[in-house]
Amino acid sequence: MIPSTTFTHTLAGHPLAAGGAGEHRTLIITLFSVFVAVTLGITVWAGRQTKDATDFYAGGRSFSGFQNGLAVSGDYMSAASFLGIAGAISLFGYDGFLYSIGFLVAWLVALLLVAEPLRNSGRFTMADVLAHRLEQRPVRTAAGTSTIVVSIFYLLAQMVGAGALVALLLGATGEGSRRWIIVLVGLVMVLYVTIGGMKGTTWVQIVKAVLLIAGTLLITVLVLNKFHWNLSTLLGRAAEASGKGRAFLEPGLQYGKDGTSKLNFVSLGLALVLGTAGLPHILIRFYTVPTAKAARKSVNWAIGIIGAFYLMTIALGFGAAALVGPKAITASNESGNTAAPLLAQEIGGGAGSTGGAILLAVISAVAFATILAVVAGLTLASSASFAHDLWANVIRKGRTSEKEEILTAKCAAIVIGAISIALGIFAHRLNAAALVALAFAVAASANLPTILYSLFWKRFTTRGALWSIYGGLVSSVTLVILSPVVSGNPKALFPGLSFDWFPLSNPGLVSIPLGFLLGWAGSLLSRPAPDQEKRYAELEVRSLTGFGAH
């Protein structure tokens, strides 16, 4: 999730710094296999209980607010949060911490404006809410398209990251083994989704969230204990070890260089805070609980869990800077993605020690579990939208059976799995973080305006929705293509070419206001449908009271 980090450059094949991961490989593989075996077991069990569409898409709406809160946290805390933020803090100090804040504050948008009305008025996807009051076929096509685009960018980022990270940690640095690992991750995630549906995927998220929190808590306690529970000492030592002195604890180390990089940060900050409430794999989680009240409760739990986790990234990141040191971190991975596992090794007793080996293996296994779970959540969101929005309602015009729709979703999951495996293999030079930032920016530009207008603006029309979704989608993707992420510098996707006409690497600052503006303009430039008034009245009543909710 961290746009500043790259998994790309880790592929050259540095073995894990000092000590190497080789000797711990067996332990890592064992722990990871146990996780996969247990979660697949849960998936098969959940699959047996999955009978109709509500089970498959929404886990039978049988989860409690707390369970779903854990699952939401599991879906949200991707490998990039865990590894990326720790890495960014360990290398850029304070500027890395800024991400934790944006990712957390963003949840208030979901809590105050989106979660409850969405739960009350929709069935399985984000588009259900729009279809209440707008012409359903065009808006489902648009919302389905943007759901799939956002999810695939997010997925691709995770797959690229998974490949690079797994290869790095297991020491399997050859191109061949990296490919096999991507294929393996893709296969397991397709199994989770096709067999277990939402019920299985939700339990995978819950297991993963508990593991991630437990692992992070363990390292945090050990780090703080080492500094006698004195935060100031930890910060001081980190600043000292960073070689940057006090600047390490001040804003601007990464984003303060010039006017453009400062604007870039504002752009990123905007995308992060407004993107969360438009992420399809997060939105569909609200359908897994029985009521809007339970949806609110799950967001509140998620805010507590995610907030606690991001607070612990302070200990992880500054701890890694102080104890491992930036030299050893960058030697292992130049964007810092292995800072957390390296810290675990160090705090367990250092390279070569048994304690170090065990902690390294545990934290690495947690990181793999994280990747796998997030990837499964994304696959489910995009295949659900394909089957429910595009296939059942647009292509087959509603003449499908529930069975056919579920089968379509499963096939879509296989296709999406195959696409992401292929992209993960061939596009491994892509900057994983830029892809995630793009996913947030697209979600904030294309999805959020339409959701908010649909729920709260009487005058909103179908044309407004289409302009907003397609306008937000096209503008954000185009601006990224024209940005320094894709060309014009040695770190870009195509370093040899230069069509970097847009100076910012995150499009949010332009595309998010544009998405809102287009939704507004499109609505005012079109006449509302004759029954618009009546249908909006129904949506308002349903979304606030929960009457007739599925």
């Binding site: 304070y94 948008v109 601007g252 409760k297 059942a392």
Partner: protein, 158 residues
């Protein structure tokens, strides 16, 4: 963080009515097939609502929307959520902009190695937690009872 415990169901609402899965659907029709809903939705007017659901389709939503009680419910949500959203987004953007453009202020040491920027960052965590808690309390007191009463009234077919 546990609004349900704080409220309890309002006296007029029987236990369990907040389980929408079972509520208004006529039991004679076993689990409305996705197809039937969707089919009806493809007509020209494109009614996307579940027409197998008689209680829902016969409800006068416009009348309900214009009623005094619904106005109160909507106000209870909007007058709380909208200003608060503007406030926390402004507060967050202020923090982002200060980090970017007010280096001198943010670098001021508060105690030990902890500077204003760090305190500001932790304050964002704190306000997020507080707003979440505050909203849960507000919703339990002012939104849920109203929503449940209206829902029960509509389900009774008034």
């Amino acid at each position: 963080m546990d609004p349900e415990k704080a409220v309890g169901a309002p006296p007029t609402t029987p236990e369990g009515t907040d389980e929408p899965v079972r509520t208004p659907a006529t039991p004679a029709i076993p689990a409305p097939a996705a197809g039937s809903e969707l089919e009806s939705a493809t007509d020209v007017t494109g009614t996307a609502t579940d027409v197998t659901d008689n209680a829902v389709s016969s409800t006068d939503f416009t009348g309900m929307r214009d009623s005094e009680e619904f106005g109160e419910l909507r106000r209870a949500h909007r007058s709380f959520a909208f200003p608060l959203t503007i406030a926390f987004v402004t507060w967050y953007l202020l923090y982002v902009l200060l980090s970017n453009y007010a280096g001198g202020f943010m670098d001021t040491i508060v105690v030990g190695n902890i500077n204003v920027a760090f305190v500001f960052g932790l304050a964002q965590f704190l306000t997020t937690f507080l707003i979440a808690w505050w909203y849960a309390r507000h919703a339990a007191e002012k939104i849920d009872p109203r929503a449940e009463a209206l829902k029960a009234r509509m389900e009774a077919g008034e």
